[in-house]
Symmetry: C2
Subunit: 294 residues, 2 copies
């Protein structure tokens, strides 16, 4: 193993993704030193106990001093505050990247704060579990998954190449696209599925109490898959929806139209419409399996 | 192992559930003879090749002659026709049961056809996979899962006891409830989740072609869980929605209200409503895990 890819990586936020990244950096020898920052004392203590970082810092600015890579791994709603806090401490030539599920808002909230000589490479590893916190991380989280980078038009190609290399070493397949395209694709593949799962599980939560127990008991009929998705981190998801509003509302509008079609078919007893719809959706599943994302 | 629980079991329909039942009957020595009926020649040939039954029959009536248990394992929309066809051939003292996901319609379509001296015990094993057909079955499908029996008010207690015993031997936990209560609970835990999954995947199917490929590529963000559900048997699901119309439309109405609340919160930027909603849904997931249905 040669010299690490980065001398010092600062992880701003050490939840599921941040801690998985720490594991991956260590396993593949990608960082000479891992500096961590977490807002809560409890998380910082857990991070130290778990041996995830080489140094832990109360403040984000303290963690980024001397870092050649700063990875922002906090909910998107905290980006602007973090960017403002770390800006004065960033080293010349440093790369600032992130792992958030919305990319236009990431650029909007981070870019204006960065000094000249610091490269922004927004990123999004399309991977996750329903678990949160520093205990939830594992090095294999990114293996075989896509990582989408959304470089700015005037971005630094060398910084993009280093980030591509980093994610490939972590086991991911890397793709680049524009931030607005990313936000539309992810609205469909991730944000709307989560919103609907949260809604269905919420509807069940509001049921009469005796029904609630039964919903849990008989969840194997389909409901349990939704509960898994709807157990993801609440703050992270709040921030995703607030920061990808346009794409989410656009896709939700399409979804409403399609629900209305099936709802009407059920109401009037139109079996043909239902059957044809259900046959078409099977093809998409075959695509997911063929793409090895199942 | 003593005498089998049933001398002759007739499986009317040998898809995922029927074939899994055949495996379970064999593994636990519950049937002296398994007679099978499937409508299509291709399925009948596969059933014989797979060794799932002791005799195969072109007609449903032929399969039920001399059977002390007749299990109807076809889509709910075919129940009335099947019941009419087998009625003249049913043996005195036989039990007729089924495995369908709606129970009021099952009773409506089967009961009127049955002669005196034949007991109806409607049943629903809450288990399944996204695969269909006789190749998809396996004996373990029912293990640790619930099987709901919805006996009629004037039903035969001895027949209920034998069916309870059968499902317990197959590894299931058995619960009884009324058919209308079953249909409401399953609308929430299974039918609506499937309807929504079908809708979301359908919305994706209608996207511009270049987006479709990307939806599949990045499906790990949540979408893939919906594609699994939406790959289930189209005819079976068409029949479920057509035959549980009232409960499905009732729950869908509640869901619409809840989507509207979250949609509005996103539109006006109301993070508190989103966050509170997402925190509440986590508790349901914990319940599912505690109930060992995850």
């Amino acid at each position: 193993m040669g010299a690490p890819l980065f001398d010092r990586v600062a992880l701003i936020g050490v939840g599921l993704i941040g801690s998985s990244l720490a594991h991956a950096l260590r396993r593949h020898g990608l960082a000479g030193h891992i500096a961590g920052h977490a807002r809560s004392r409890r998380t910082r203590e857990r991070v130290v106990e778990l041996g995830l970082v080489d140094s832990i810092h109360d403040g984000a600015a303290g963690a980024v001093g001397g870092a050649d890579l700063v990875m922002i791994c906090v909910p998107v709603g905290a980006y602007a505050e973090i960017a403002a806090a770390i800006a004065p401490a960033l080293a010349q030539g440093a790369i600032v990247s992130d792992v958030g599920s919305v990319k236009q808002a990431a650029i909007r909230d981070i870019a204006p704060h960065l000094p000249a000589g610091v490269a922004l490479v927004p990123g999004h590893p399309v991977a996750g579990t329903e678990h949160s916190g520093p205990e939830a991380g594992f090095a294999g989280l990114f293996e075989g998954r896509w990582c989408i980078l959304t470089p700015l038009p005037n971005g630094d190609p060398a910084a993009l190449a280093r980030m591509t290399w980093l994610w490939e070493r972590a086991g991911s397949k890397v793709e680049t696209m524009t931030a607005d395209h990313h936000d539309l694709v992810l609205a469909i593949t991730s944000h709307i599925p989560h919103l609907i799962a949260y809604t269905i599980v919420g509807t069940a939560t509001d049921l009469e109490e005796h029904l609630q127990g039964e919903v849990i008991k008989y969840s194997a009929g389909g409901f349990r898959d939704f509960t898994r998705i709807a157990a993801s981190d609440p703050i992270m998801w709040r921030d995703i929806f607030l920061n990808n509003r346009e794409a989410v509302l656009e896709v939700l509008g399409r979804l409403h139209e399609d629900i209305a079609i099936l709802q009407r078919a059920i109401r009037v007893g139109d079996g043909t419409t239902l059957e044809n719809h259900f046959i078409r959706t099977r093809a998409i599943r075959r695509g997911v399996i063929a793409a090895k994302q199942a």
